[in-house]
């Protein structure tokens, strides 16, 4: 087994395990921490896929911003009530959900099982570097890029408008 294959299994197993812990955790803060662990291992997988820029953005945005925001909200709201999570939904919904998910997993796995598809040995020059992704973003996907920036602006306005309390002066 080569080094990168070993790393794939380590990162993959850790990512999957922490994902399961996120979903099954009884404590919202612990779930958020496991989420960060999962993001970290995914960043490791991106590095194995020669996507260094993605790995850095993954940590910067997911671990550095989104999960911090989630933790912030958990702590900002009533901590004592939120941290201890009530159980999941009623038994029927839960078992139905798990059965459906299991069927979905089997379906996906059966579609993937037959072909052992390897990766090409050679990659084009500059694959996964900042320059190549920048070229794509500002050339082929320029319209999508601009639309995403509008979406982000809308999200900022929406977040402020929703979370802002009526009649309260902003500091």
């Amino acid at each position: 087994m080569t080094g990168s294959a070993l790393l794939f299994y380590v990162f993959g197993a850790l990512a999957l395990a922490s994902a399961v812990l996120v979903v099954t955790g009884k404590n919202a803060i612990a779930s958020a921490v496991y989420l960060v662990v999962a993001f970290f291992n995914l960043a490791g997988l991106y590095v194995l896929l020669e996507a260094h820029f993605l790995a850095a953005s993954q940590i910067l945005v997911y671990a550095g911003a989104i999960t911090v925001l989630i933790l912030f909200v958990i702590m900002l709201l009533d901590v004592s009530q939120l941290v201890r999570l009530q159980g999941s939904r009623n038994a029927i919904a839960r078992s139905l959900g798990i059965v459906l998910a299991g069927l979905f997993a089997i379906l996906l796995a059966s579609q993937l099982a037959p072909g052992e598809v390897g990766f090409p040995e050679k990659l084009p020059e500059g694959f996964g570097t900042v320059e190549s992704i920048g070229d794509l973003l500002f050339d082929r996907y320029l319209l999508a890029f601009e639309l995403v920036s509008v979406l982000l602006l809308a999200a900022i306005v929406a977040a402020v408008a929703i979370a802002h309390r009526e009649g309260e002066s902003t500091p």
């Binding site: 260094h52 911090v68 500091p171």
Partner: protein
């Protein structure tokens, strides 16, 4: 293969050495500089034998004290998180330094080895990414301690760090547009030559914004609200004692060192010596080394004479202060004699260097230059802490979002405009 492995180990060891060995020095500086600013004498009593060395021994006794203290975990704390939080803080601080080049490359067997722990294509993004993780150490410590003050500190720090990270990244965008790369090594070579090539001269607004944000990201005064003593006791680390407190304490200084290193690298030429780009330095390694040795011999003799004069003249501790004698030998006559001996042995400093030797001489000098810049900014951190009062929380948020963010955006716009005009 063996060479590769050795170089990897050397690079990592040097990186850790820079961060970990400067921490005690900075703690000592913090005490001495604060004392000087407040017209006190500062630590002066801890001694190793007859030597007090201006209180630097005090740091050592501090370590002994912290090891000797009881390690308390609050009974209502979440134990695993309480245990791991200081480790995260320190780990993140050390990890950030991995992409900072602390010297030019070394040529061995015709191959170049750049002196940084890891050379990444997205190096600056890596710094931003890892630095943004520092908040987890604080947040977990805050929440797991199960204490109102720690929670307040944690909330303050998370909102502060997220806000200023944004400005930090935007400030960097302007500088990156000039350098044309996210690699730190390229940013440094872009700034080589005279000092008006420095990022701070080309991108003054970005440099200023970045330095202010670095203060906020390291939770140093005037941005030290997460641990504001007068308001929330000590913020997120109230419930920590002994070595786990020491880890938080060290992480603060490690963060300062990393921030100083990044500021020096991105905006003040990094390891490049002003007016002496790497190629010039390598081509003239022999004469430059001779000048450096002569300067060491002369400067060392002068310093030795000065400390010797202090030794005989006496100070407030009376005449014959052993400290003065030790300083005279350590920083005066010792280096002077060593430099003189090297000069004498080589017949007045006639060196012959191959490419390896020349690159080694250049690397050592550039390392010294980088450390000088780093220590200057570390000093700036301490200086500002003891000079400025702390912000109020709403002032902090207003400064970040209403003044610095628009300024950073304007800077990006102006830079793009100027670059576009220059390209034509």
């Amino acid at each position: 293969m063996l060479l590769d492995l050795t170089m990897v180990l050397v690079r990592i060891a040097l990186m850790l050495l820079v961060v970990l060995q400067v921490i005690p020095l900075l703690i000592w500086w913090e005490r001495k500089v604060s004392a000087y600013i407040q017209s006190r004498r500062g630590p002066a009593y801890a001694s190793a034998g007859p030597l007090r060395l201006f209180g630097i021994v005090h740091t050592l006794t501090d370590v002994v004290k912290l090891i000797g203290k009881e390690d308390i975990t609050p009974s209502q704390a979440n134990k695993p998180f309480h245990f791991i939080a200081p480790a995260i803080a320190m780990f993140v601080a050390l990890l950030t330094f991995a992409v900072v080049p602390y010297s030019g490359s070394v040529v061995i067997d015709g191959r170049e080895f750049s002196l940084q722990a890891a050379n990444l294509n997205a190096g600056i993004l890596y710094i931003l990414a890892i630095a943004s993780l520092g908040v987890y150490g604080i947040l977990l410590a805050a929440w797991s301690s199960n204490n109102k003050y720690t929670i307040l500190g944690g909330l303050r720090s998370s909102s502060q760090l997220v806000s200023y990270e944004l400005v930090m990244s935007l400030a960097l965008v302007g500088a990156l547009m000039v350098y044309g790369s996210l690699e730190l090594g390229k940013a440094v070579t872009h700034q080589s030559g005279p000092f008006w090539h420095w990022g701070a001269v080309v991108q003054p607004v970005a440099a200023l914004l970045f330095i202010v944000c670095a203060f906020a990201e390291t939770n140093r005064n005037p941005f030290d609200l997460p641990e504001g003593e007068s308001e929330i006791v000590a913020g997120y680390h109230v419930e920590y004692s002994s070595l786990r407190f020491a880890l938080f304490f060290m992480a603060e200084y490690a963060n300062m060192i990393v921030a100083s290193g990044v500021i020096a690298t991105l905006f003040f030429g990094g390891y490049e010596i002003p007016f002496l780009p790497t190629e010039t330095l390598r081509a003239n390694a022999a004469p430059i080394l001779r000048i450096v040795l002569l300067a060491t011999a002369a400067g060392g003799t002068l310093a030795g004479l000065f400390f010797g004069y202090l030794f005989f003249q006496g100070n407030e501790r009376g005449p014959r202060d052993p400290d003065a004698a030790a300083l005279a030998v350590l920083f005066g006559f010792g280096p002077a004699v060593a430099a003189g001996a090297v000069l004498a042995l080589t017949g007045g400093g006639h060196f012959e260097f191959g490419p390896t030797g020349a690159s080694l001489v250049a690397a050592v000098l550039q390392f010294a230059c980088f450390m000088a810049k780093l220590l200057f900014f570390a000093f700036l951190f301490i200086w500002v802490r003891w000079t400025l009062p702390r912000f109020r929380y709403d002032q902090l948020m207003r400064l970040g979002w209403k003044y610095m963010l628009p300024l950073a955006l304007l800077n990006v716009l102006a830079t793009a405009f100027i670059l576009e005009r220059m390209a034509k």
